[in-house]
Symmetry: C2
Subunit: 451 residues, 2 copies
């Protein structure tokens, strides 16, 4: 162990002041979302029932950089910059010449990257007189993040939590309530979308989205907030990659060879990688960018690139994306945040165009890597983040074979302090760990609209 630094931060004066919009630099624009009824491109008016004007503008902007409002930057400073760590102990354990850096978003109030977008979303809604936000949550990270953000801006927050998660993770519900939110077990009996399912149904992210959207659409001073998938959400997350670029430079690196993030809805991956896409397109560095997803929900690696709904009930616009079918219910893997049938259209577009690669891993390998990481670096990763760590481990071991001293940047999107039940199951003898079957995949894709 050398006496060199392991943690890189940024001074207040160095903090990013703008989010980065990758669309401005793409040779081909991403296909537009379509209205679920008319199948025509969605315009700003179609979204005004759900989102405030600033977020709608960000959803379609062609500007390269969007200024982060001062009120948002002031909140960001509670946990930003998130630290970039050099994983020297893990490197030593793996006996690799690779230099592994991890960008750690678990320092945020919600314990994950989600507050990077919940705070601006709450802010823009608050300055438009909105008094209440509705949303869904699966693993609970997003619901926690929005609950916190609403508490700062004096708004109420209603969260529809996927039933299975609500039942098995009381601590997540308590955390949302501690931040002031009201939490419902989805599906509820209170919405049309919820009543379509039998009482006690375990729910899904798609169903919970339908419920939250349905409620928000009914009242003028209530809006909806989404934690991933949409362009404006991905935009807000780019603060991760912007910081990482500055921190890598502080660490004396001229660039990254590999940038690895887990991908569920795609916002964590986008936030980390999009600024690297810019550097790559500008010829400044040439990293391989890799999305890691679970073998049980292999949207990018085995889904189809088609127009599909973001939710189960078909209330959202149709989006061109990699999808497993909007009524697909993935098996109950522990990385709840990666159990989504689709993928952000912008991430899908970049994968389709070859800018970002994708790999699927089994959860047992991910937990094994996560435990090794905890015992060397001291951070217990969220099950989602463990997917990125497991791939970084593979790549670092390949470097040990080849002798290459690659610079590997890993997105550590959150901590696992509220997911220790998953670790308990893993330590007790491994987890069910099946890949999606061909039959289930074919059946799930049969429900995707023919456009």
């Amino acid at each position: 162990m050398s006496d060199e630094a392991v943690k890189y931060l940024l001074d207040d004066s160095e903090m990013p002041t703008h989010w980065y919009n990758v669309v401005a630099d793409l040779p081909t624009p991403p296909p537009p979302p379509l209205h679920p009824g008319t199948h025509q491109p969605v315009g700003p008016d179609d979204l005004s029932g759900l989102f405030p004007p600033e977020l709608i503008a960000q959803e379609v902007t062609a500007e390269r950089f969007v200024e982060i409002p001062r009120a948002v930057r002031e909140v960001y400073r509670l946990w930003r910059p998130s630290p970039l760590f050099r994983a020297r102990r893990l490197e030593a354990k793996l006996a690799t010449p690779a230099r592994i850096y991890y960008k750690y978003e678990g320092v945020s109030p919600a314990g994950s990257h989600k507050t990077n977008t919940s705070v601006p979303q709450a802010y823009y809604n608050s300055i438009n007189g909105i008094t209440r936000l509705t949303t869904e949550t699966g693993a609970g990270q997003w619901g926690t993040a929005l609950a916190f953000a609403c508490s700062l801006f004096g708004m109420h927050c209603d969260v529809w939590q996927v039933g299975a998660s609500f039942d098995s993770k009381p601590a997540r519900r308590t955390l949302m309530e501690t931040f002031g939110a009201t939490v419902f077990r989805s599906p509820t009996r209170d919405t049309e979308s919820g009543r379509a399912f039998p009482e006690g149904h375990p729910g899904s992210l798609g169903i919970a989205i339908s419920e939250a959207v349905e409620v928000a659409a009914q009242q003028d001073d209530v809006k909806y907030a989404l934690g991933s998938v949409l362009n404006h959400v991905l935009l807000h997350q780019t603060v991760i990659g912007e910081e990482a670029l500055l921190q890598l430079a502080k660490a004396g690196e001229s660039g990254a060879d590999l940038v690895i993030g887990c991908a569920g809805g795609g916002s964590n991956l986008a936030g980390l990688t999009f600024p690297f896409v810019r550097e790559k397109l500008a010829g400044k560095q040439n990293p391989r960018l890799i999305a890691v997803e679970p073998a049980a929900c292999p949207t990018l690696t085995r889904g189809e690139y088609r127009y599909d709904f973001g939710d189960t009930a078909g209330l959202t616009p149709l989006m061109k994306m990699y999808t497993l079918g909007h009524d697909f219910v993935p098996s109950a893997i522990h990385a709840g945040g990666l159990r989504y049938h689709g993928m952000a259209p912008l991430v899908s577009h970049l994968v389709h165009e070859g800018h970002i690669a994708a790999v699927a891993l089994h959860q047992n390998e991910c937990f094994a890597a996560a435990i090794e990481f905890a015992r060397t670096e001291g951070i217990v990763p969220a099950p989602e983040s463990s997917h990125a760590i497991a791939l970084a481990r593979q790549e670092a071991l390949a470097c040990a074979e080849s002798g290459e001293d690659k610079v590997i940047v890993v997105g550590l999107s959150g901590h696992g302090m509220l997911e220790l039940g998953a670790y308990e199951s893993y330590l007790a003898g491994g987890l069910a760990d099946e890949a999606l079957s061909e039959e289930a995949l074919t059946a799930a894709l049969a429900g995707v609209p023919q456009l």
Copy 2:
């Protein structure tokens, strides 16, 4: 909200290189610990079965400063410096002219200050050929911290967890196991100390200490590690206060008016306040230093300053300290880390000599303050830490009345991510919240040896 900084860190070059030994500056030396059999002052030989020579030397050193070994500083850098935050949002909420700073130890691998001492303890044992450390844990913070430290230095870690905590907090056990430890429910059937209690007994910290000490004393390559109370533990924690002094200066403050920490065994309080004691004795600043304890376990405010055992079975040396009696079992308040019958002899001495004041608070007030803190500052405090926050809140509101712009420094010793069950109970309608009765106190003190 102004545009000023909210978070203060330190550059690598500014990091403390030494721990501070307050004994060197005290006008009166603290009374020595006594051998439990002979009642004579304990010498180094009496401790050599339990601790390695470096820690025994630190236990009795008269040096003002003790260098932090390079190997320890390298591990510290995973989470140190811990941030000093200015609580601007809380100040605004309380409409106080006071400036509230909190020193946040929850960024550590264990989620609390405990790793500040677990790492050097594991290090010194490892360089002495020790292969296994035993310890006890109540709330689980200390067991987690030692499990992590042992994993770094290639030692095994055996943790006796207080039965009630073991039963109600499986996540804590899993976290210790994730870091590689073996966890026993105390009292066990495997030790003489444990067999003195009936099967299924809820246990206590005192019993768990007896079990861990008993096992360590039987084998040469096994030693014991204690998470609080002893001089060397308090010494290691002074890195907190040393950093806080530097960070306050960076924030432009010439000193603190109030320094507030919760106190269970006393190491968190000591770590934060002892460097301020030095500044005070040197006439450089004049802060009031305050220990906050639970009304259900009011060691400093209602205990007696006498020689007593540190554990239930009477295996430890007799220490002059504030005590409620070594067989006192406090009621099941949620701040498990504050449920200790005694108090560090050095803290006791400083309280007795008037350098540090003490206040006892009820847990409902503490949880209410903690929730307000979470909703403004984004951090859910450990139930222990909430005691310091609640007193800071009282003081800040007093400043709002008086118009004084006091500088209040609060020790936020850890986060509450693994204690959300306590928040759930509080949010569901308040907690049992009784102060220790006069009868129970008299009965508990009757067991203290007459010396």
